[in-house]
C-alpha cells in the first residue's frame, strides 16, 4: 500500500475516473465494490455468499446476542446455559463476519487503487489462479482455525462468562434464570472472610509447592545427570535405567501406592523405617506440614526422571573441546560446571523447565490422589495441602459453586499465563537463538 500511495499522483494515474472511495463505499453491500471494479464473477460470488450468510444467520445471531444480554426471561422455559452458548456462538460468528466484511471492503479498495494505476483486471481464470496461489495456505488452515474457535475459544469464553454470573446451586438452570452480576464473584473472593482466608492460604501453598517441588526435582536431576555423565563411572546404562524407572510407572498408580506407604499407622514407611529407627512414627497424613513434605518428596521422585533424561541428552551434546580448553586454562571442576555445563544445560532446556513449573502449579493428580488435599486444618475450610486446582475441583463438583470455580479458574489461568509468558520471553533460548 505504502508504495502505491507514494505514487499517488493525479498525473501518473491511468484511469483517474476510477474512484477507490466509491469502490469502498459500494462494498458496504459486499460484492458491489468488486463489480464496480469490473470483477463481476468475484463480486457475484461475494454477494451471494454474504447474502446467504445474512439470510440464514441473521436471526440466529441477533437472537443469540440478545440472549447473551438477557440470559433468558421465562424461568423453566428458557435455559440460561443454552442462551449463553448460543450467544457465544453468535459472538464468534459475528467476529468472523466482521472480519470478512472488513476484508471485502479492503479488497475492493485495493483493486480500485490498482486499476487507477493502470492495472488490468485479470480475466476469470487468471483471477482464480492468482487467488489460489496466494491463499492456498490459508485455505489449508481455515478448517483447523474454524474448529479451534469452537473447541478452544468457545469453552474458554463459556468459563469466563460463567464467572460473571450467579450460577451456583441455588441459582441453577433450568429452574432459575442466570443473571449477570459483574465482578461480584471476584469481589466476594477477596472481601468475604471465608473466601479470602481460604483463597490466600491455598494460593500461598500453591506457590510454595510449585517453586519448591519443581526446583528440587530439577536440582536432583541435574546433580544425578552430571554425576552419571562422569566418564569414570561404570555401569552407566544400568544406572540410567534405574533412574528413569519412576517415569515408566504411571504416576496415578505410584501416587496411590505412596499414599498407602505413608499411612500413619499401617504404612510401611512408618512401621518399617521410621518407628524402628526413631521409635515414633511421623503423622504423614494427619499433620499438614508432614503431608506437604511427603507431597514434595513424591513429586520430586515422580518428576525428576524426565528432567534427568533431558539433561543427560544435553550433556552428551556438549562438545569435549570446551572442557579440553578449560583444562588447558587450568579450570577447576566447579568452574567447568559453572561456566560450561550449567549454561549449556539451561540454554537447551529452559523452556521445558518452565513448563515443569506451570505443570506443577496445576498438578492435580499428586495432591488429590495422595490425600485428597487433606488433612483437615482447624479453622480453615480448605485442606492443609489443597492447591488452587484441587480447590476449584471441590468447588465445582462438591459444592456446585460454578461461578466461584470459574472466577478462581480465571485467576489461575492469568497467573500461569503471565508467569509462563515472562519466563519464556526472558529465557535465553528465545532471546539469543544461535549464541552457542
Amino acid at each position: 500500500m505504502a508504495r502505491i500511495n507514494s505514487q499517488y499522483d493525479q498525473d501518473t494515474l491511468v484511469n483517474p475516473k476510477h474512484n477507490p472511495t466509491v469502490a469502498a463505499l459500494l462494498s458496504v453491500i459486499p460484492g458491489l465494490g468488486q463489480m464496480y471494479n469490473k470483477r463481476y464473477v468475484k463480486g457475484a460470488v461475494l454477494f451471494i455468499l454474504f447474502a446467504a450468510f445474512v439470510i440464514v444467520m441473521i436471526e440466529f445471531i441477533s437472537t443469540g446476542l440478545q440472549g447473551l444480554i438477557t440470559l433468558g426471561e421465562v424461568p423453566r422455559e428458557d435455559d440460561s446455559r443454552v442462551f449463553l452458548s448460543n450467544g457465544i456462538i453468535s459472538l464468534i460468528l459475528t467476529v468472523f463476519f466482521l472480519g470478512f466484511y472488513y476484508l471485502n471492503i479492503q479488497d475492493a479498495l485495493k483493486d480500485a487503487k490498482r486499476i487507477q494505476l493502470g492495472w488490468k483486471v485479470p480475466n476469470m481464470r487468471e483471477g482464480f489462479r492468482n487467488a489460489w496461489d496466494t491463499s492456498f495456505p490459508y485455505l489449508l488452515i481455515a478448517p483447523g482455525l474454524f474448529l479451534l474457535m469452537f473447541v478452544v475459544v468457545f469453552p474458554l469464553l463459556y468459563m469466563i462468562f460463567i464467572a460473571f454470573t450467579n450460577f451456583n446451586l441455588y441459582n441453577a438452570p433450568p429452574r432459575e434464570i442466570l443473571e449477570w452480576i459483574g465482578f461480584q464473584n471476584f469481589i466476594n473472593l477477596f472481601t468475604i472472610n471465608e473466601w479470602r482466608n481460604t483463597f490466600v492460604n491455598v494460593l500461598s501453598w500453591t506457590l510454595i509447592w510449585t517453586f519448591v517441588a519443581t526446583t528440587l526435582q530439577i536440582a536432583l536431576a541435574m546433580f544425578l545427570a552430571v554425576i552419571t555423565n562422569d566418564p569414570r563411572l561404570k555401569f552407566k546404562k544400568l544406572i540410567r535405567t534405574v533412574f528413569i524407572l519412576p517415569w515408566a510407572v504411571p504416576a496415578f498408580v505410584t501416587i496411590i501406592i505412596f499414599s498407602a506407604l505413608f499411612h500413619d499407622t499401617f504404612g510401611a514407611i512408618n512401621t518399617q523405617i521410621i518407628i524402628p529407627l526413631f521409635g515414633e512414627g511421623i503423622p504423614w497424613l494427619q499433620n499438614a506440614t508432614w503431608t506437604k513434605i511427603a507431597l514434595i518428596m513424591i513429586q520430586v521422585w515422580l518428576g525428576f526422571p524426565f528432567i534427568y533424561a533431558l539433561f543427560t541428552g544435553v550433556l552428551q551434546g556438549i562438545s569435549s573441546d570446551w572442557y579440553e580448553a578449560a583444562d588447558i586454562d587450568g579450570a577447576s571442576r566447579w568452574q567447568k560446571f559453572r561456566n560450561i555445563t550449567f549454561p549449556h544445560l539451561m540454554f537447551a532446556t529452559a523452556p521445558l523447565l518452565i513448563m515443569q513449573y506451570s505443570f506443577n502449579f496445576n498438578n492435580f493428580n499428586v495432591i488429590y490422589l495422595f490425600n485428597q488435599g487433606g488433612p483437615a486444618v482447624r479453622g480453615q475450610t480448605a485442606g492443609g495441602s489443597d492447591i488452587l486446582i484441587s480447590w476449584v475441583f471441590g468447588l465445582t463438583f462438591e459444592n456446585q459453586q460454578y461461578n466461584m470455580a470459574a472466577a478462581v479458574s480465571i485467576i489461575l489461568g492469568i497467573l500461569v499465563a503471565t508467569f509462563a509468558f515472562f519466563q519464556f520471553r526472558r529465557s535465553r533460548s528465545f532471546k539469543e537463538e544461535g549464541t552457542f
Binding site: 423453566r76 433450568p174 432459575e176 499407622t265 497424613l285 475450610t381 459444592n399
Partner: protein
C-alpha cells in the same frame, strides 16, 4: 475445600448409593401375605377403568444405573410392564451419579428419559434445579403408594412436595467374625468389653470408620443430638444444627475414648476397616450390605451380621438412604411414567428386583428370606434418613474434620462448636 474425609464421605455416600446395596424391605411381615394379586387387580383397573387416564404413549424411556445386575433386573421388569400395558420401555444405562446433571441438560430440550433414578439426598438439588415433576397421584395410585416405607417416602420429598417413588433402602449394621466374636453384643458395654478383650497387637475387636459422620452418627447421638432440626411436617431447618449439643459432645467423648485406648488405630479409614476384617484381624466392623459379597468371599460362613447394640436400653439410630424413581419434569407422559415407577417398585416386582440386584425394597409388603439381610432390615427400623436438604452437603466435611481432630485428642466440645460454626458459615455463603 477437598479433604480426605469429605472425599471418603462422598465416596461412601456415592458407593453406598451407587454400588450394590442393601436396605430394608418388608416393614411388617404380618402385612405381607396375599398382596400380589391385589396389586395386579389395581393395575388392571387403571388400564381399563377411569376416564381421566391419559392416552398411552407408545414408548417410555428410563435411565437405569449402569450396574449389570441392576440393568438386568430392570430389563426383566420392563418387559413385564410392556406385556401388561402394551407400552414399550426403553432402558438407557446411565450412571446414577451423573443422572441429575444429565437431566439438567437433556430435560429442557426434551431429550431426557421419562424416569430417572436418584438417591434421596439429591432431592434438594433436584428441587432447586426443577428437574423432577411433582407427583400428582390419582386416588388409585395414592392407595398403592401408601404401602411404601414412610421414611423412604418422606426422604424422597422436599418441602412437602413428593418427588419420587422409593425403590430401595439401605443402612449399615454390625458385621462379626464369629471366630473372634462368637456372640453378638447386646449393649454398648458388652461391645466395649469384647473390644478390649479381642484387641491385641494387630488384631482389633471393634473397628469402624470413626472419623466419618455417616458411620459415626449413631454413636454420636445415642441420647439426643441431630443434624438439622425438623418441624412437625418434617421440614428441615438448616439454622438449627444439633451436632454440638451436650448429648453429641457426650457421644464424641465415647468415640474419642476408642482412640485414646487404642481400640481403633489413628488414621482409620474404610479401606483399612475392610482390609483388616477381610484378613480376619477384626472382630466386629460397621459397614453396609454393599460389602457383603467382599466379606463373604473372605470369611465365608464365619461372618454374621447383627444390629448395632443398645445404649441405655435404646437402639442406636443409624442413617438410612433411599433410592427411588423420579419423573422428568419435562415429560409429556407424567401419568404413565408414574405408573411405570409404581409398577417397578410394587411388592412383587420389588421382590424380583431384590433377588436379581440384591437391593432391599422400600415397599413394606415384600417378604425376604435371607439371613444376612434380615439384620439390615431390622436396623432400618431403627434408622433416620440422612437429611436431604442441600445444606447437608456442608455438614459432612466440617464434621468429618471435627471427628478427625477428636480422634487426635482435641477437646470434643471445642471442636464440635467450631465445626457447627463452620457449617453455619458455609451455609451462609452458599448463596
Amino acid at each position: 475445600m477437598l479433604k480426605s474425609k469429605s472425599f471418603l464421605m462422598s465416596l461412601m455416600v456415592v458407593s453406598s448409593i451407587g454400588l450394590v446395596a442393601c436396605g430394608g424391605g418388608n416393614n411388617d411381615d404380618v402385612n405381607a401375605p396375599a398382596n400380589d394379586s391385589e396389586t395386579d387387580n389395581m393395575n388392571n383397573e387403571t388400564t381399563t377403568g377411569e376416564g381421566d387416564v391419559p392416552e398411552k404413549p407408545e414408548q417410555l424411556t428410563m435411565w437405569v444405573n449402569d450396574e449389570e445386575a441392576q440393568l438386568d433386573a430392570n430389563e426383566a421388569l420392563a418387559e413385564k410392564f410392556t406385556e401388561e400395558y402394551g407400552i414399550d420401555v426403553e432402558i438407557i444405562p446411565f450412571s446414577m451419579v451423573d443422572q441429575a446433571e444429565g437431566m439438567s441438560l437433556d430435560g429442557p430440550s426434551g431429550q431426557g428419559a421419562d424416569l430417572f433414578f436418584q438417591p434421596h439426598d439429591r432431592m434438594g438439588d433436584i428441587h432447586l434445579q426443577g428437574l423432577a415433576a411433582e407427583l400428582e397421584l390419582t386416588d388409585d395410585q395414592q392407595e398403592r403408594f401408601s404401602h411404601y416405607n414412610e421414611d423412604a417416602v418422606a426422604s424422597l420429598s422436599y418441602e412437602e412436595v413428593q418427588y419420587g417413588i422409593p425403590a430401595v433402602m439401605e443402612t449399615y449394621a454390625l458385621f462379626r467374625n464369629t471366630d473372634l466374636v462368637p456372640e453378638a453384643p447386646e449393649t454398648m458395654e458388652e461391645l466395649m468389653d469384647i473390644a478390649h478383650d479381642v484387641t491385641d497387637g494387630d488384631t482389633y475387636g471393634f473397628l469402624m470408620n470413626a472419623t466419618d459422620l455417616y458411620f459415626t452418627y449413631p454413636f454420636l447421638t445415642p441420647n439426643g443430638g441431630y443434624v438439622f432440626g425438623q418441624d412437625e411436617n418434617g421440614v428441615y431447618d438448616p439454622n438449627d444444627i444439633g451436632l454440638n449439643t451436650a448429648e453429641a459432645v457426650e457421644g464424641a467423648k465415647v468415640v474419642q475414648s476408642w482412640f485414646d485406648e487404642d481400640l481403633i488405630p489413628d488414621g482409620i479409614d474404610m479401606d483399612i476397616v475392610k482390609g483388616l476384617f477381610s484378613d480376619g484381624k477384626a472382630g466386629m466392623v460397621v459397614s453396609g450390605a454393599w460389602d457383603i459379597p467382599e466379606f463373604q468371599s473372605a470369611l465365608g460362613d464365619n461372618m454374621e451380621i447383627s444390629m448395632l447394640p443398645k445404649v441405655d436400653d435404646e437402639l442406636l439410630t443409624t442413617f438410612n438412604g433411599t433410592k427411588g424413581w423420579l419423573v422428568n419434569y419435562y415429560t409429556e407422559h407424567q401419568y404413565w411414567a408414574t405408573e411405570l415407577a409404581l409398577f417397578l417398585t410394587n411388592a412383587e416386582n420389588s421382590h424380583t428386583y431384590f433377588e436379581m440386584a440384591g437391593e432391599l425394597p422400600a415397599h413394606t409388603e415384600v417378604e425376604i428370606e435371607d439371613e444376612l439381610m434380615t439384620a439390615f432390615f431390622d436396623q432400618i427400623q431403627s434408622s433416620v434418613p440422612m437429611p436431604n436438604i442441600p445444606e447437608t452437603s456442608k455438614v459432612w466435611e466440617p464434621m468429618n474434620d471435627a471427628l478427625e481432630f477428636i480422634s487426635q485428642g482435641d477437646d470434643p466440645q471445642e471442636v464440635l462448636d467450631e465445626a457447627v460454626e463452620q457449617i453455619k458459615e458455609q451455609i451462609s455463603i452458599m448463596n
